[in-house]
């Protein structure tokens, strides 16, 4: 069976500090991978998606970046965090050749920028 991991689960970082969130998927190959952010009480905002190693599509221009160094690894980074970067970060995967929209989400990372 497939599983998706995210870490850390929670993170408190000062403004201006760097960020690295990691997501890994097990039990599948060539997945589409996604990063979302959810502000308190809001819907999910798609940040990045990837259809393969080194292939990143950005949905929202901002101070965040994403990388996919391996097939089942997706990393979200920032060089300098802003207060507005606080939120709940979710990684998700979907079969590349899937017949539905069903996405599988990780447990999320709660980021607080102080």
């Amino acid at each position: 069976s497939q599983t998706i991991h995210q870490w850390p689960a929670t993170l408190v970082q000062p403004v201006g500090s760097p960020l690295s969130l990691e997501c890994t998927v097990e039990g599948t190959s060539n997945p589409n991978l996604y990063w979302y952010r959810q502000a308190a009480g809001r819907g999910l905002q798609l940040l990045f998606y990837s259809v393969g190693i080194g292939q990143i599509s950005s949905e929202v221009p901002q101070n965040l970046s994403a990388s996919r160094p391996q097939d089942r690894q997706f990393i979200l980074s920032s060089k300098k965090l802003l207060l507005s970067d606080s939120g709940f970060y979710l990684c998700a995967w979907r079969p590349r050749l899937g017949s539905t929209y069903e996405q599988y989400f990780g447990p999320g990372t709660r980021l607080t920028v102080t």
């Binding site: 599509s57 899937g98 539905t100 999320g108």
Partner: protein, 112 residues
Amino acid sequence: LAKTTQPISMDSYEGQEVNITCSHNNIATNDYITWYQQFPSQGPRFIIQGYKTKVTNEVASLFIPADRKSSTLSLPRVSLSDTAVYYCLVGNGPGSARQLTFGSGTQLTVLP
């Protein structure tokens, strides 16, 4: 991408059937309609997907009229554990890599 409109919140009582309607007036020919459920501090969970008419699974039913400009998620006999945010999404066909956009959703509160 087609924009969706759904109620911000709904209340119901245990054992009742709940219907949440979503409007998507500019849905495109190849767009599918998908619903997700999200509990606090968790990622959304896929509920159901459809293109037209009616789709039913073990969790819910999805009703889509002929013009496809709206859809209704039906949850039979809700329980307290169905309290969650429900998202309606509309977008390109399943072969599209780009994922659908989640709106603000509908907060369903089931009361005892």
